[in-house]
């Protein structure tokens, strides 16, 4: 039954494709060793460790590009005993996760130096979380999904409590741990029922086994759906599973909030899309559940964000609202809408990271995150104001920024899918209008108002971290670039979704294409 010789033949397992993950693991260990063997680090040594981490992530990114170009993925490949799928969707998601990790490392250095003495372990944890996220994004097996999700989650709990002497950080960590532990338990229960129903942990096998249940409203499947939606909804911070997000985003160190809102969410979307399109592609019931979640997230996220006084809390509710917009793509589930969702995810990465980077830059200068404190920032730091404004405009969805095209593609694909979905688009458009109020309010404060006491106190000689400003510029540049040259990226997302569709069990994929 088992051929022992297969253990030795690693080359058959396409491990070549996992080179980026390997580099990341290696870099993680190197930074860890450098941290352990040099306990009393100077500021310069910490900076050097940050550079090592950043180089590791960049190396992993180039390895990703190299594997992608070296062996073009024409059809989806399996790796590591088919617990990993290598396809363009996976490449896109892994690229986003690595970019998010790189930017997080770059924006966190000055902030950490200012607030804690234990700096370098932060990078180790960020790289570990990204490793989990990358494997999660390309996993093809329930066990792989679970272990990768746990790697991502547990490191996130630790990161949320990284400022261990700050009560809010400890509170954020504990809250996240309790909610997250519950989510994990529910997810695992759901996955065990999937295994019970299908008799396999492999996605393709499960897809084929579940074909028998198409058209049958089986109660176990409904339980499974509810459990998986609850757990993934928690990770996506979609309402009503968003309760943790504001407290965690506010209490956690700001780079961690940025990381959670972008990388964690990207990985969660990746696995949601993959499970939905490959495992459960023949079941229409999902659409209803996701629809409820999407509408709730949009409405709760936007309305509560109107009332916020803290910039991090506001961004937390804004991520809930954006999760709602993105879920619309899943509700419809056509290949056009899913590729629009992916495009939205790409732009969301840059604009949200940019916004968080600006908040970090501001709070390192003034030690506060209150929105009123942003008043009159343009007089002291015009470029920071410019970058933050671009990101906020993009989050609102104003033309020439990427956010406009992301919203445009997504809402258009939803509207074109059928008359039933028009209502969803109307709700989404109304919500975008509401979101304008709180995003533009910050810009108004920064540009129009007289400087606040905190802004007055910023001295002109206050140093700005070069890594932070580079990362912010990169995010702003990417946001503008995606706004102007949207179509090549959009084509890439379309190709990714096509490759996902190829992995469906044959019977279903034909049915879907007929429906379209």
């Amino acid at each position: 039954m088992f051929d022992l010789s297969s253990l030795t033949v690693m080359s058959q397992q396409n491990l070549f494709y996992l080179l980026p993950e390997g580099i990341l693991t290696l870099g993680l260990l190197v930074v860890l060793c450098l941290t352990i063997f040099n306990p009393k680090k100077t500021s310069e040594e910490n900076y050097a460790l940050m550079q090592v981490s950043l180089i590791t992530v960049l190396l992993a990114l180039s390895a990703l590009a190299w594997t992608f170009l070296r062996v073009p993925v024409i059809t989806p490949q399996k790796a590591a005993y088919s617990s990993i799928t290598i396809d363009m969707f996976g490449y896109l998601m892994r690229m986003l996760i690595l970019l998010g990790a790189g930017v997080t490392i770059a924006i966190s250095h000055r902030f950490l130096e200012k607030n804690t003495r234990i700096v370098s372990d932060f990078y180790v944890l960020i790289m570990g979380a990204s490793l989990g996220g990358m494997l999660l994004a390309s996993s093809n097996d329930l066990i792989m999904v679970f272990v990768a999700l746990e790697t991502l989650s547990i490191t996130s709990y630790i990161l949320a409590g990284y400022f261990r002497r700050t009560i809010k950080s400890a509170e954020a960590s504990l809250k996240y741990l309790i909610y997250g532990g519950m989510g994990t338990a529910v997810f695992l229960f759901g996955l065990s029922l999937v295994y019970g129903l299908a008799g396999s942990t492999n996605f393709q096998d499960i897809g084929i086994a579940l074909v028998h249940y198409h058209g049958v409203v089986h109660p176990t499947l409904i339980v499974i759906m509810l459990m998986i939606v609850a757990a993934l909804g928690f990770k996506l911070s979609a309402a009503p599973f968003h309760m943790w997000a504001p407290d965690v985003y506010e209490g956690a160190p700001t780079p961690v909030s940025a990381f959670l809102s972008v990388v964690s969410k990207t990985a969660a979307f990746a696995i949601t899309i993959r499970m939905l399109l490959i495992l459960f592609s023949g079941f229409a019931e999902w659409a209803v559940i996701w629809g409820i979640l999407a509408v709730l997230s949009m409405i709760i996220g936007n309305f509560v964000a109107l009332k916020q006084h803290n910039a991090k809390r506001l961004l937390a509710y804004s991520t809930v609202a954006h999760a709602g917009y993105m879920l619309l793509g899943l509700v419809v589930g056509t290949s056009v809408s899913v590729s629009s969702l992916l495009f939205y995810l790409v732009t969301y990465l840059f604009m949200n990271l940019g916004a968080f980077a600006a908040v970090i830059a501001f709070s390192t200068l003034t030690q506060t995150d209150e929105i009123t404190a942003f008043s009159g920032l343009v007089q002291k730091r015009p470029w920071l104001t410019f970058g933050f404004s671009i990101c906020l405009l993009s989050l609102t969805g104003i033309p020439i920024t990427a956010g406009f095209f992301a919203k445009f593609f997504l809402f258009q694909s939803v509207a074109l899918a059928g008359p039933v979905y028009i209502w969803l688009v109307i709700i989404a458009l109304l919500n975008s209008t509401i979101s304008m109020a709180y995003y533009l309010n910050i810009i108004r404060l920064m540009v129009v108002k007289e400087p606040s006491a905190e802004v007055e106190a910023i001295s002109d000689s206050a140093p700005t971290s070069s890594a932070l400003s580079t990362a912010l510029s990169f995010c702003v540049f990417a946001t503008l670039l995606l706004g102007i040259f949207a179509s090549p990226f959009y084509q890439f997302t379309t190709l990714s979704v096509q490759q996902l569709a190829q992995q469906r069990p044959m019977v279903i994929s034909q049915a879907i294409f007929q429906k379209k």
Binding site: P39, G128, T155, F163, R164, T166
Partner: protein, 242 residues
Amino acid sequence: MENLTLLNQISFWLFAIMMIGGALGVVFHKSIVYSALLLLVTFLSIAGLFVLLNAPFIAAAQILVYGVGLTIVLIFGIMLTGDKPFVDPVGQERPKRYWLIPGVIAFAFMGFLLWSLLSPNYNFTAVNGLFLERVQPSIAETLPGVQAIIADGGVTHIGLLLFSKYLLPFELASVLLLLAMIGAIILSKRQFPEEEAEGEPHVSQDLDGGAMEGKSCCSLNEGNGNLASENFDSEKETLGVH
């Protein structure tokens, strides 16, 4: 279940009753130490059920990981949390029928789950068998390969699976454990070498040896033996605010 012998059936019901009784005890017992010990009863009964399901290896793992490891850590945690008896943490302020709504939801969900699991076209293969894929258990147990698996408790089979089909998750789990260990050290260590020189700068309110450190590390730090009770008070204060 039809091929269980009488002894098997008696053991099954015994373990099942012990498991559910233990679980109820965990929830309803007023003393947290008794709750922890009743949790041990639940874990051991689950291990017994694994034995009945022809999975002795998983039963052993269950006893080692949950029965021994987890329970002992839990009891250590309780011991280190404070010298006061930890009875009914919420105290008198808890409304009388606090259990009603969650209880109803939980039982409704359990009913739904039972109904769904007992629905006719549910396929029980994988639940009863040991990594048997899409074979009826009654047929499966007669297959020669499966009998070989059952004979050695599935250890060989699990080992082969861990190092072939599930190699990558297995390797990732090692990275996960490493990261969790780093995290535990970061969250609980009293003072890092980095902090010795100038002390940690603070963003907002300071725990001053509060919740995180007090709970998990007071036995490890040097020369701070009496911290446990102090921290317990400050922890209550700080957590009471939020």
